[in-house]
């Protein structure tokens, strides 16, 4: 710990308080609802054979998908950020984009290719292909921000390239990797729509059955608390694996870019592997869209209202991304720089909403706002807040890992030169964590752009987004008319992914020449 002034950071505290209040909202809703249930009802709900089966389905899916996403995410990020792979900018975008494809399109794309596709393995494949970007993006940001001097030192001390990767590089990207794995696990706990089409039933099915056919929010809340318990286990596991940082930090001013590994003869096989990954994750759903546009008779030139929908989607998603990233900064800053039980608990708490189905979060916001903030009910502001609650964990992982990489000694040096803390933050910390902020923005933006459940419940009356219009046409079987909206969701998601890849590229070059 550094000496000098250590005032309790008021700004961080204020931001973290807002974040905590928002995150607690849906949890309080769940607890209030679940309390109305008696002990025997809870017993009847939870001690059913089908519940045990569904729970096991969820757990074995989460384990397999998380492991696969970790491998794909790290391998992809390493190839793009650390090798001489040609057209890296292009790959950087292509590898993130599967996140911007709505679940329903992914499921439909696969079932159109092979209608017999169903069950556990199909669910593992489809979910891995759509969730690996949650590992890829934070890890890529961490790799772009890597201190190459450490690797070189390791090599000069006689470690082979693989050992250097394992003992130095992997160690530096560990918080990003574990954070990404945590996101994949939590997202799987909450997922519902994608499994319907491959006929794989997870625990969320039990929750949705209570809501959709029993109209029983109390029973649904009791069941949702089981997901909360599962995510507490995942959060504890990630915390103990990450440890107290575990990141090797350079001394002041010693940071330097890492040298890219020449792929040489491996160039063609690596390109083939990445192309196969993108083809499966992105090509299949995009192929389904093209097929719909060509085949469907409802295909028309989309009206001018499609532009309004693009505008609303971009506006809400961007605002949510800024908001969630802004909340993630104080929460992770407290948890890393002022680590104690309270700040760590707060940071862990912020992940819980991600493990809950969007319907639960949205209904919690409905219940709260009709009672205490009716003027805000179904306003753009409320929808943005809902997105921020749902996707704050994505921002947290990206920001936290960047902050863990930034050396506090640099801030210390800034202060020793007589700068005020705000100036030090602006001139030293911010540039250091910029790639993490970019990754956070992109992750939240893309996820918000494709969100449907909360959007349908909370959007301002009379306002359409790409997701609501896409949904409206698919429920009419007008796939031809729906396809352009899905295609635009992917296109809109490509914008932050592209900007981010450019900035990470610039940063890496700046470090190489430094």
């Amino acid at each position: 710990m550094w000496s000098g002034r250590r005032r309790w950071p008021l700004v961080s505290l204020a931001g973290a308080t807002i974040a905590a209040a928002l995150v607690l909202l849906p949890l309080v809703f769940l607890i209030v609802q679940a309390q109305q249930s008696g002990f025997s009802e809870v017993q009847h709900l939870l001690l059913r054979h089908s519940v045990a089966v569904l729970l096991w389905n969820t757990i074995r899916l989460a384990i397999a998908c998380t492991a696969l996403c970790a491998v794909l995410g790290v391998a992809g990020a390493w190839c793009v950020e650390r090798t001489t792979l040609p057209a890296r900018r292009l790959w950087a975008v292509a590898l993130v984009l599967p996140l911007g494809v709505p679940d329903f399109v992914v499921g439909f794309g696969w079932v159109s290719i092979d209608p017999a596709l169903h069950g556990y393995l199909a669910a593992v494949m489809i979910m891995t292909l759509s969730l690996y970007p949650l590992v890829y993006l934070p890890v890529a940001a961490a790799l772009a921000n890597l201190d190459g001097g450490l690797e070189e030192a390791a090599r000069s001390l006689g470690l082979g390239p693989w050992q250097a990767f394992r003992r130095v590089t992997l160690r530096q990207i560990r918080p990003a990797l574990l954070g990404g794995c945590l996101l994949v696990t939590l997202a799987l706990l909450a997922e519902f729509g994608a499994f319907e089409i491959v006929q794989y039933q997870t625990f969320t099915v039990a929750i949705f059955t209570e809501f959709k056919l029993g109209f029983d929010a109390v029973a649904a809340s009791v069941l949702s608390l089981v997901l909360v318990a599962l995510s507490v286990a995942a959060l504890g596991a990630e915390l103990s694996l990450t440890g107290r940082g575990g990141v090797l930090r350079p001394g002041p001013g010693a940071r330097r870019g890492a040298r890219r590994v020449a792929l040489g003869r491996l160039t063609a096989p690596v390109i083939a592997a990445l192309a196969a990954l993108s083809g499966l994750a992105l090509g299949v759903p995009l192929g389904a869209l093209v097929y719909w546009m060509l085949r469907g008779s409802s295909t028309t030139l989309p009206s001018a209202s499609i532009l309004a929908a693009v505008g609303h989607t971009a506006e809400y998603s961007a605002a949510a991304a800024v908001f969630a990233t802004a909340l993630a900064v104080p929460v992770s800053s407290l948890a890393i720089r002022h680590r104690n039980r309270a700040t760590v608990l707060l940071e862990r708490l912020a992940y819980l909403p991600m493990a809950l189905p969007g319907l639960v979060i949205a209904l919690g916001l409905v219940a709260f706002s009709v009672r205490y903030a009716l003027a805000l009910y179904q306003s753009a502001f409320e929808l943005i807040v809902a997105y921020a609650i749902l996707f704050l964990p994505l921002a947290l992982v990206a920001v936290r890992s960047a902050m863990g990489q930034a050396s506090p000694r640099l801030e210390e040096a800034g202060r020793s030169l007589g700068r005020r803390p705000a100036a030090v933050w602006w001139r030293v910390t911010l540039p250091l964590i910029a790639p993490g902020l970019g990754a956070a923005f992109a992750l939240v933006f893309i996820s918000s752009a494709t969100e449907l459940t909360a959007t349908l419940l909370l959007h301002p009356t009379g306002v359409n987004t790409l997701a609501t219009q896409f949904w409206a046409y698919t429920t009419e079987l007008s796939y031809g008319a729906a396809a352009p909206y899905a295609a635009l969701m992917v296109a809109v998601s490509a914008v932050p992914a592209y900007v981010l890849s450019r900035r990470m590229g610039t940063l890496a070059r700046a470090q190489e020449t430094r």
Partner: protein, 339 residues
């Protein structure tokens, strides 16, 4: 580094502007009602346009999944912005009625529709209907091979040929009908047979598409999904046809779409006017001419061309009220692990 900052600064400014603009939300005037819409959006859009033109009352439409909307209304309680709830199926309306959320529908509106299609307590009105039928692939099956009863679908000969959607809201009424007509044990046997024979799909839309492309040979659906698929793909791409069950078979059900006024609504008169319009001749003709392919329920209004006339259908004499909120069917499906 300056570019990082300017980007972040711009983002924060944009956010602040948006948050401010969002706070000045619109004030609703007295002659505007809010409709929570679980019906297909295009049908509703046509009805709303005609109603606004006729009455000058504006309708704000919020579309969504009908059971999610019902849950939303239950959470909103007395503060619900919804004045009218228009749904594709009646179990959601029954669920709200049981919880005392609906206001009585005005008697003249109820009188426009045969009473068996309305809430027995008069809390919601039937608007249009679909009939439960079988869709079959015409290159895999000939009309002579088709079953006359839905109960036959549980026979081993349909193994691997059948497509079902047990989580679809149209599926529970079939189970309820079998429970009512043949008893619970028969319904359970039938479901077990379907479970052994059928491939499970998420909804009727997928069943009709998969039967049409030959992945499955046969499946129970509501008639209008087939007509809509034909409208989307064109007649030349149809490799399937509809088959009606024998009169009085438990499969031969009519599913009703209905509407209700929320008890919490402060605009009862305008909301009742919208319901009255839905069952009026012009409202019912709008439904018949929209591409929803539903049967208008008002006597004397003809359905879309190509549909078997409603009078020729001889569905089982079970009213939507008797089919209830589908609780028993749900419990049975859960027991067998179909949900």
């Amino acid at each position: 580094m300056a570019r990082h900052k300017s980007l972040i600064f711009t983002a924060i400014l944009a956010f602040a502007a948006l948050a401010l603009s969002a706070c000045g939300s619109s004030a609703h005037s007295a002659d505007t009602i809010t409709l929570y819409n679980g019906q297909h959006e295009q049908t509703t859009a046509a009805l709303v346009a005609a109603f606004e033109h006729q009455t000058g009352i504006r309708v704000d439409v919020r579309s969504g999944d009908e059971s999610e909307l019902a849950n939303q209304i239950l959470q909103e309680g007395a503060n619900s912005p919804a004045d009218v709830f228009y749904t594709e199926n009646t179990p959601v309306l029954e669920a709200l009625r049981e919880r005392g959320m609906l206001a009585p529908v005005s008697p003249s509106t109820l009188a426009a529709i045969p009473s068996r299609y309305n809430s027995s307590e008069g809390d919601w009105v039937g608007v249009s209907a679909r009939v439960s039928v079988l869709v079959y692939n015409t290159s895999q099956l000939s009309p002579a091979q088709l079953p006359s009863s839905i109960l036959e679908l549980a026979q081993p000969k349909w193994k691997g040929k059948l497509a079902i959607a047990p989580s679809e809201t149209d599926f529970q009424p079939l189970i309820t009908a079998i429970i009512k007509l043949d008893g619970r044990a028969a319904a359970e046997r039938w479901l077990r047979g379907l479970q052994a024979n059928g491939k499970v799909y998420p909804d009727n839309e997928t069943i009709v598409a998969q039967v049409n492309n030959g992945e499955s040979a046969i499946g129970p659906i509501n008639h209008y999904y087939w007509f809509r698929l034909r409208a989307e793909l064109g007649g030349a791409a149809m490799h399937s046809a509809l088959h009606y069950y024998a009169a009085g078979d438990p499969g031969d059900l009519v599913d009703v779409s209905g509407a209700a006024v929320l008890r919490s609504s402060s605009k009862q008169a305008a909301a009742q006017a919208f319901l009255a319009f839905l069952v009026s001749r012009s409202g019912q003709e709008t439904i018949a001419h929209s591409h929803s392919y539903e049967y208008p329920l008002r006597p004397g209004v003809a359905p879309a061309p190509g549909l078997r006339p409603f009078a020729q259908l001889k569905p089982v004499p079970l009213t939507p009220a008797e089919l209830g909120d589908g609780h028993e069917a749900l419990a049975l499906e859960q027991k067998l692990g179909l949900l």
